[in-house]
């Protein structure tokens, strides 16, 4: 058994929420992602026995969606948008600078496990293009220089929690609109939306 007792208890709690066990696959993969920073084979075996489908069926779903990482992810996942609005607003320079600073190419993680770099399709911040996401927390209205400052700051400070609004004030520019998200607790790991389950306790 590769999963801790708490994690299995959490998984069972999630499974309860669905009429069919296998429907819980998506959220369970987040649990797996939270454990190792990627979907490990051990986690796949664990999930398959929890919801009664075969390992390869779990792997099929896990490998289909690019946000279920197949390889270990760094502490900070840098996702720079390369779609059309950002491209028009000079995202290619942002991409070049970030790549230069981190010395990473697409979908690579550095040796210390600090940064993972990826260029992604539209992250829904066209009004504030170009935009970047750090562990899925969005910063808008970047310039290439500010982007490098942001990376430097992350490297020096290594904050435990990334909060979009804080970074926006420090490094961002024009914002598309006020997102009006009530929960401004930020993100503590490169697992999208995971803190909505329980990790808030860790954050505070």
């Amino acid at each position: 058994m590769s999963w801790e007792k708490d994690r299995i208890a959490k998984a069972k709690e999630i499974i309860e929420m669905y009429p069919q066990k296998r429907s819980a696959l998506g959220p369970l993969l987040y649990l797996a992602l939270d454990k190792d920073g990627y979907i490990s084979n051990e986690s796949i075996v664990e999930i398959s026995s929890l919801i009664g489908i075969t390992e390869v069926q779990v792997q099929s779903v896990a490998s289909f969606y690019s946000m279920y990482k197949q390889e270990p992810t760094g502490k900070y996942l840098l996702s720079v948008c390369k779609s059309i609005s950002c491209e028009i607003s000079n995202s290619s320079d942002v991409i070049t600078k970030v790549k230069e600073f981190t010395n990473l190419s697409n979908n690579e993680t550095d040796e210390e496990g600090l940064f993972t770099y990826e260029s992604v399709e539209c992250i829904g911040a066209c009004g504030g293009a170009p935009a970047i996401q750090i562990n899925y927390e969005t910063v808008e209205g970047l310039t290439p220089e500010k982007a490098v400052d942001l990376c430097k700051w992350l490297k020096e400070e290594q904050p435990k929690v990334i909060v979009a609004d804080e970074l926006q004030l420090k490094f961002g520019g024009q914002k598309s609109f006020d997102w009006a998200i009530e929960d401004n607790s930020g993100s503590s790991s490169p697992v999208p939306g995971f803190q909505t389950y329980e990790m808030q306790e860790d954050i505070q």
Binding site: N41, I53, T54, V56, S60, S63, Y65
Partner: protein
Amino acid sequence: MTEKITFTVDGKELEGKQGQLLIEACEDSGVHIPRFCWHKRLDPVGMCRMCLVEIETPRGKALVPSCTTEVTEELVVETESETVKKAQEGVLEFLLINHPLDCPICDKAGECPLQDQTMAYGPGESRFIEEKRHFEKPIPVSDIVLLDRERCILCARCTRFSDEISGDPLIEFIQRGNKTQVNTFPDEPFKSYFSGNTVQICPVGALTATSYRFKARPWDLKKVSSTCNCCSLGCSVELNVSQNKMLRILGEDNEFTNQGWLSDKGRYNFEYLHSENRLTSIKSKEDNIFKDISFVEATEKLKSKIEELKNPDIKFIVGPNSTNEEYFVINKFANLMNRNEFLSKDKSNVYFSDDHVFNGYFGEGYENAAFEDLDNSDAIVVWSEDIKDNIPVLFLRLKKAVKNGVKLVVLGHTNTSLESLADLYLGEEVISNNFELKTNLGNIKEFQNIIENKKVTAIIGKSTPIQQKKSLDMLVDHLQKHSQAKFLNCFTKANTFGALQQIDQIKGLNEFCNEYLESNSNIIFTIGANPVNGSYFSSNIQDILKKADYVVSLDIFINETTELADLILPTTSYGEKEGTMTNMEMRVLKQNKILPDPGSVLSEWEYLIMVAKSLGKEINFDNAYEINKALCAELGNENLVPSFDNLNKPSNLFGIISNKEIDINITDLEQKDLSMLMVKRLYGDSSTQINSPSISMLGSERFIELNSNTLEKYGVKSKFANLTQNQNSIFVNIKLNNHLPDDIVVVPINRRGFENLDPTKDFDIKEAKNMKELSVN
């Protein structure tokens, strides 16, 4: 579903059924629409887009995939318009973007739907100049199936088969977009009893079988339709032969039996035909050494032995792999040898070599079911040997019926593989470890709800040789009283029903052991039977064969039984003889000859007729056709009997049900307490299988099954143990199976090493260290 619909295809008016898919309705009316992913027996997915057709809609003409569109009244369809042609060309150009053009070395070339349809509908040239994607080729997805991912066009036929039909989804699409590939999970191979079907339905050369790879080109193959004799389901098959060697067996779609599918055993159990261990000459034992002799010498020997022994008692043990025609002759021969042509009921001297056969439920008072009844009934009740291991394709039929809403009730202990399909699984609360009913079935509410006044098809057979018939009687009587029940007698081996129909008053091995008298002089014939291996009476029969004055074996290999014989007559086998076989619904199907007889071997009936002649008796047949004619003459109406002539008619390719009366005389064994439950696994150590290299390893694993309570009782914590009884000790893997009741240990009887165990005696399980674990530094 049966309501008729008229629609127009390419200006012609066609008829279809309500709810039918357009591609299928067109196919039925003779209009072929090209396709890769659509398969009659699988759910449609619309993956490949090859079947695009143009239909008229209120907003003008539109391209739709005909495999996901249902026919509707007055639908107007174009299958050959310019637009459709352009779409087909486009689809094929895309499909060929990543498909390697390695047809010259591809096994599929010549019968490849992609190749054929590219020729028929393709654009002729590609505008794609980029590098194709590359994968390691090929990778094994199981012991018998190889996968070349470069050739795969992602039609999802194999993944859908494994999910929908066989229910073991161990292959799936991994990754997405350009990287999409079919694969297994690491260290979880595609271990399925049905994996070979994916090779057959693959529309390209992506999935290949180890046994056929690089062996022949399709245009060199000689083909004939036949019937599989691996179990009593009678799957329709096509035998493929090149240069007088059987190279491949494909499933044929017989609506009434296998519906296109085969088990891997039925599909790959043929290499033994050309094994160098095959017997090709007559052997006589002299001073414990087998010597080749001629047939004339052999008959002389047999004749002088019969004379020398003065009125010997002659007994026959027959196996399940002969044809009906052979059983017919065996019956005649046995009657002659009994010195009494008017056999009295208790004087039968023919014994059938399968412990699970008993008097069964035939004839008056019982309505026998056909497989199609499984789909048409409200509920299916199963109490028999393990169906998945013994009649694998029947498991697929059950799964299909359940998928279509038929309720399934399984009565316990041997069919744990059906548990996940069953609506009601009656285990240890209802059935004792000796397979007796513990409670009145009428008291089980859920059971009553499922069967009360419903159409029920019951599959009934002994779960273990020791099971008493009266326990089955209780279930059968209950079903007779409370439902409209039809019965399938679950005797699992090959042509068992043929033997029962053709041989008068056939008995079992129990009777054989009881009726054998040492004081008499004895001659025993074993015909295609190996009772010394895998029978409850093995050790008993071994003793008898050793003591008997003369033993004659008709078989294809030296095995545990034939090595005890004094005279071995090598016989023809599957594909080398023409005849009929009767499956468990009494459907008679044709087996055809396509291979020449190896060496100078003859068929069983030929030997028997010639032996009879040398003894001055007459059985006059020149060929299987004549025997078949004589056999059918007893059955009445010439047009309805399963004669070769009738079975060769196109209208009868699915077989003819024969109602010949069955007259068995097998009594129950003495009731004893079982300590372990012996079951037959699909793969084992039969001489045909160990001489077929592609599948011989599949039956090598030794394992026992028990539940966690029982395991705890023996204090075993690891997955490995030694099973010991008297001097026997076997190293086994342990498989946990919590559907089993406490104190039952399931042991595979047809795996090497288990043959000397006695299921009624005590044994012990002791923890053992795995050698692999020990060798770790």
